[in-house]
Symmetry: C2
Subunit: 718 residues, 2 copies
């Protein structure tokens, strides 16, 4: 050990005795630091690293910046945007090496809370992760060198930092978890339970990935149940970049079914698939101001390639309007080039800072985005609805998930568009609405001359002088649909898959093969299973015979139930003797013998029955929770009853804001981190016939008392 | 106009008279600057912006940095990595605002060549885009304020900067185009003609996108011909982010055919499709050092989301080994979980600084990547070859492109793998080899304990103690295949598509409808075309009847020839009278009447003939250019003759380096910007029987005289 330890002077002034001091090889990242400590052999068995981040706020040009020093646990998510908001400082950016040198005479790898001294503390703003002070962990802090480390308790760090307060401004103790939660107005209530999940992160085999506890009930902790089902059914795995998930084959195959189905239907409409680059220059991205405003807080920026800084940062597409439309302007030269209808299956990135939720809110997600240009509004209008009808069919006919088609309010429509149509889903367990998929008419907002300038000569103008700016639509359906399906049908045994999208529709399990059964008897049963599977596969039923050795039938039942396979066939010696099989439905658990004769006809029929029953049950439940309400005092109690309301509404934006505000305020008190409970407009259903006719001038909006226009669904939502 | 103009002092000291001075609204980007100038009404009609970039090289911690100021034309691509190399400075990074304030007391939006004065010039290194001095353009430079601009000639800028040399170090005049070209060892010779294409950029409707001149011959300027064909056939369009391209439906549909074909064949092998995130944390990316070394210079980094800096930069996957394998370690718990075979269709990003070329070398490209894990090497070996055989079929059976399967030399194998198999293509027009697709055995390099630690208990070890680290493969096929297909079959009329991948296989064009023809006669012909198309579509022939009004048959012929439709049927009144149609083959131009009777059988047969003929012709040509050579002195002349050589080779890496070096040196002198002409090993063909047996100890390597091992293909390549 060297005789002079940098940073040791700090202990002379306080009562602190570090738990250990370790010298090790130089480190340049948290990973190499941890590695070096573990390799040293002298580090405590279990410890957490402390990170020290230095930010520079935006300041007037010639003013000296006051750096913000953040001391946080390794696993704490320090979101500079949120922190800046809290401290009321603009544009916090990670400080340059020069800044560190200037203020601390240290490089970033040597920085630690010990860099804060009587001399430096007054010159900076210091923020500390409050959870350090209450933690029982041992923390590693650099001894002002990247190659040596002290181990301190949370209390030691507290003593050190609090001691400095006499020399400068007050210490900012920040609960970073709460900071994040504060910005999550629309996360489901159940999500407030996410904290224990977060805790498990640290022990997971893959750093940063989350291991989910098992055996949680859907009704008790919906958010935990949901992730649990996804993991156990092998639909998805957590990934070590927050907000990103791995789509495993069991989920991806559902997406492939949807792709094939949708492609087969848009192709006859003249839509062609294509691929546009994932990158957008900032210039192009920022062309449509209203539109970009909706997306810019979530745009991910590439600023470096290899070791070269890019001259201009390049965005990853959050959606492709501005990526594609400059080329529409180029390609559309005459009305003969219309309609132009392109679609792409791709991934887009929206770097949300709200709590991510698999399939429902993720930083990268898969979708299709269709972009079309038409000569007339009438033609565009028709396509908007044709596509929406396809989306309804994806939900209802493939996924057995009921939706209500309608139009979005002005407030909720697509940024930069003319109007937005939607299919609105519903999650009964939380009583929240969820937007399913949207089909937008963009009008001429993107084609007009000051925007992308997409026009043709008007073929109907006899002078040949007239221009028509094209009418555009865009429409998208994402992997979110899979999440809604899981939430709708899953139960406490796990996933429940609708037959039409299940990659395995039928599993055949040999049963009753006790020790008494002869080898021939065993073989006869297994062969029968294989034979049945082959026969069913031949008629297009996706079937698997589960002949795995070393697993009991009970294990297999549980395994496939968890994975949601719609139908199980049990085949045992007794069944064979009777020339039958026992069918077990996943959706309702009903067991029933089925003659082997005619099974290639009866099984497909049974699968269709399951599909229809699943849809009917879900639809009945949804409709039972859509409550017409005409008095304001009934709105919040109905919402609290896990329903959405449908009210005769005035369609005014101020009223919509007011409804959100008042319903949020009136809601029952909740966990302080729970999302706001205000109700948004979900849609104005196309089918108004379910409710009494609105009498112009007589029917009033229950929220503001003005004349009502149409019945409109309002609800808490995802 | 304000009475005191910042920057005007500069004119008092020189003979320069600016062409104009304009005050305008403040600007914060090149786009807003140009906009403001154009809006001002006082700017010259045509001008270029001058950009002034300030870089900071990496310096010792406490040394004062010497900034590098780069003055360049708006359209010049300043690649900091290459510039740094040229100036012998490490890690050039764009300087911070503080740096600009410190050195010039200016913000980045006000900076201009005028910021260089007697005072500032000696403190910095100044680099100027040499093409400014020789250009006849008028250049906009900021008058030391983001809201005012001088217009100067290249000569004015020259006068200004050269005048400063007396006060400090010499000015660096850099040809940025040549700088880029210098780093392109493997671009095709024809590519040196890319400069005129680049020139056209500036006039293109979409800023930054390239318009291609038309009518270039394949034999004369291959690179220009190639891009020309792609654009005119509507396969692809240039995009305003360099190195990225738009795949239009005509090309994307080919990719879909390949996807469907390949999916149908890997599924029975037990491969499942899935989707992994596009982002990789730097920690995970850097896990395998050899592997990452191969990719790190080209990795694109996301460092910012919305307005928040990320704590750690996140990479966009250049390939997914390190993305996926941590999860393989998690999912593979027992030998029962093996083999694990996942595939994904996705896009990857490799930010190459070499000249991009559509399909062949692009910064983002589409591909499939398969990743599998096996219990034994034998099983992994078999799969490597099974997949390679599928790749061969994609090329030969779908795209009619001949390839030679073989194994890569140690030097050319996949970074971090055990061995690489490949199908090697050939572009006869340039005489260069081109790697088609590769199937790698990774061995246990990624599964070993210090890497991803992917193991199972050895099921064959009676003690139950043994571990087996899994054997892994990865294999990929990209949209590059489409580029090779275009290069192989295209001609001076445009694209030529093999029938099996053409989205329109047959086009039917009504002909002979002169003014004399009655309306009924016209209708009869058009109806016949429709009827024929319907009949052919019904039997699975993708057919379009081109009944567009207002276009002559000649226009239509040309249009569809350019797009490469394999077969044209001409239908006119005379044909109808004879109950026949005239067939015109795209591949060889042969015209031949075909009876309408039995056309639903004869057309599919004719398409298969075309497919087979295209392949045969291409294969004959390829094989005629693979020349066995046993004397060193024959190597370079053979290469110069647009051939690849196959030599009895010693398989030693030093010899391979030597061959490259010597063949490069010996090549004929070329344009100074031409890529290096050294020959690489392309592959060691599996089928060695085409050449005389190698006699151990007797057959010698013609390059080094050591004992030869196997016949090996060497050639110039892409």
């Amino acid at each position: 050990m060297s005789s002079v330890i940098r940073g040791a002077q700090f202990f002379n002034e306080t009562s602190i005795v570090p738990a250990a001091f370790v010298e090790h090889s130089a480190t340049n990242s948290p990973a190499t630091w941890r590695e070096a400590l573990e390799a040293s052999g002298s580090a405590p068995k279990s410890f957490e690293l402390i990170k020290t981040l230095v930010y520079k706020p935006k300041t007037a040009k010639n003013a000296t910046p006051v750096p913000v020093v953040v001391i946080a646990r390794e696993g704490t998510d320090v979101i500079s945007g949120l922190l800046g908001k809290k401290l009321n400082l603009k544009d916090l950016r990670l400080g340059s090496e020069e800044l560190l040198t200037e203020f601390f005479a240290l490089d970033k790898n040597s920085l630690s809370p010990l860099a804060l001294s009587e001399q430096t503390y007054p010159k900076v703003i210091t923020v500390v992760d409050a959870s350090i002070f209450t933690s029982s962990s041992v923390f590693a802090v650099h001894a002002l060198s990247s190659s040596s480390t002290f181990f301190l308790t949370g209390k030691d760090i507290h003593t050190h930092l609090k001691g400095l307060e006499t020399h400068g401004p007050a210490l900012h103790e920040v609960d970073f978890e709460a900071l994040k939660a504060d910005t999550e107005p629309s996360a489901p209530a159940g999500q407030s339970k996410a904290a224990p999940v977060k805790k498990e992160r640290e022990g997971a085999r893959i750093e940063g990935a989350v291991q989910i506890a098992i055996g949680i009930k859907k009704e008790v902790d919906f958010a935990a149940w949901y992730t649990n089902v996804l993991i156990k059914a092998e639909m998805l795995d957590y990934y070590n970049v927050s907000g990103c998930y791995i789509l495993r084959p069991w989920a991806y195959s559902i997406w492939e079914v949807i792709q094939d189905w949708f492609n087969a239907r848009i192709r006859p409409m003249g839509v062609q698939n294509s691929y546009f680059p994932m990158f957008v220059s900032s210039k192009v991205l920022e062309r449509e101001k209203d539109h970009v405003e909706g997306f810019s807080p979530e745009v991910a920026w590439v600023t470096r390639a290899g070791s070269s800084d890019l001259e201009e940062p390049i965005a990853i597409r959050p959606t492709s309007e501005t990526v594609m439309y400059p080329y529409y302007a180029k390609w559309i030269k005459s009305h003969r080039d219309l309609p132009l209808k392109l679609n792409q299956w791709n991934s887009v990135v929206r770097w949300e800072f709200k709590n991510p939720q698999p399939f429902i809110r993720t930083r990268e997600f898969l979708w299709q985005e269709g972009h079309t240009a038409h000569l007339t509004k009438a033609e565009a209008d028709i396509e908007v609805r044709d596509i929406l009808e396809l989306y309804r069919q994806v939900f209802e006919d493939l996924l057995a998930v009921p939706v209500i088609p309608g139009v979005k309010s002005e407030k909720e429509k697509f940024a930069g568009g003319l109007y937005t149509t939607t299919v609105e889903g519903f999650v009964p367990t939380t009583g929240r609405g969820i937007q399913g998929a949207t089909s937008h008419c963009l009008g001429q907002n993107f084609s007009r001359p000051e925007m992308f300038n997409i026009f043709v000569e008007d073929p109907n103008d006899p002078t040949g002088q007239g221009k028509v700016y094209v009418w555009q639509n865009s429409w998208g359906l994402s992997t979110r649909v899979i999440g809604v399906m899981v939430m709708t049908h899953g139960d406490n045994q796990g996933l429940v898959l609708p037959p039409r999208v299940a990659s395995i529709q039928v599993v055949i399990v040999p049963c009753g093969l006790t020790a008494k059964i002869s080898d021939e008897g065993r073989k006869a049963v297994n062969d029968k299973c294989d034979e049945l599977a082959a026969a069913l596969n031949k008629v297009g039923v996706r079937t698997r015979a589960d002949l795995r050795e070393g697993y009991t039938p009970g294990f297999k039942f549980n395994d496939w139930e968890q994975k949601g396979v719609p139908l199980r066939l049990e085949v045992g010696p007794a069944d064979l003797a009777k020339d039958q099989t026992l069918t077990v439905r996943r959706d309702n658990g009903v067991k029933s013998p089925l003659p082997l004769a005619g099974i290639t006809a009866s099984v497909p029929k049974l699968l269709e029955t399951i599909q229809a029953d699943m849809f009917k049950r879900a639809q009945d439940l949804y409709f039972s929770r859509v409550k017409p309400v005409t008095r304001w005092e009934d709105v919040v109690p109905t919402l609290d009853n896990k329903c959405v309301v449908v009210i005769p509404w005035c369609e005014e934006e101020a009223c919509e804001d007011d409804i959100k505000e008042r319903s949020g305020r009136a809601a029952e008190p909740q966990d302080e981190r729970a999302p706001s409970a205000g109700a948004k407009s979900l849609c104005i259903p196309f089918d108004q016939s379910k409710w009494p006719p609105i009498e112009p001038g007589k029917t009033k909006c229950p929220a503001c008392g003005k004349d009502a226009k149409q019945w409109t669904m309002f609800g808490r939502s995802y």
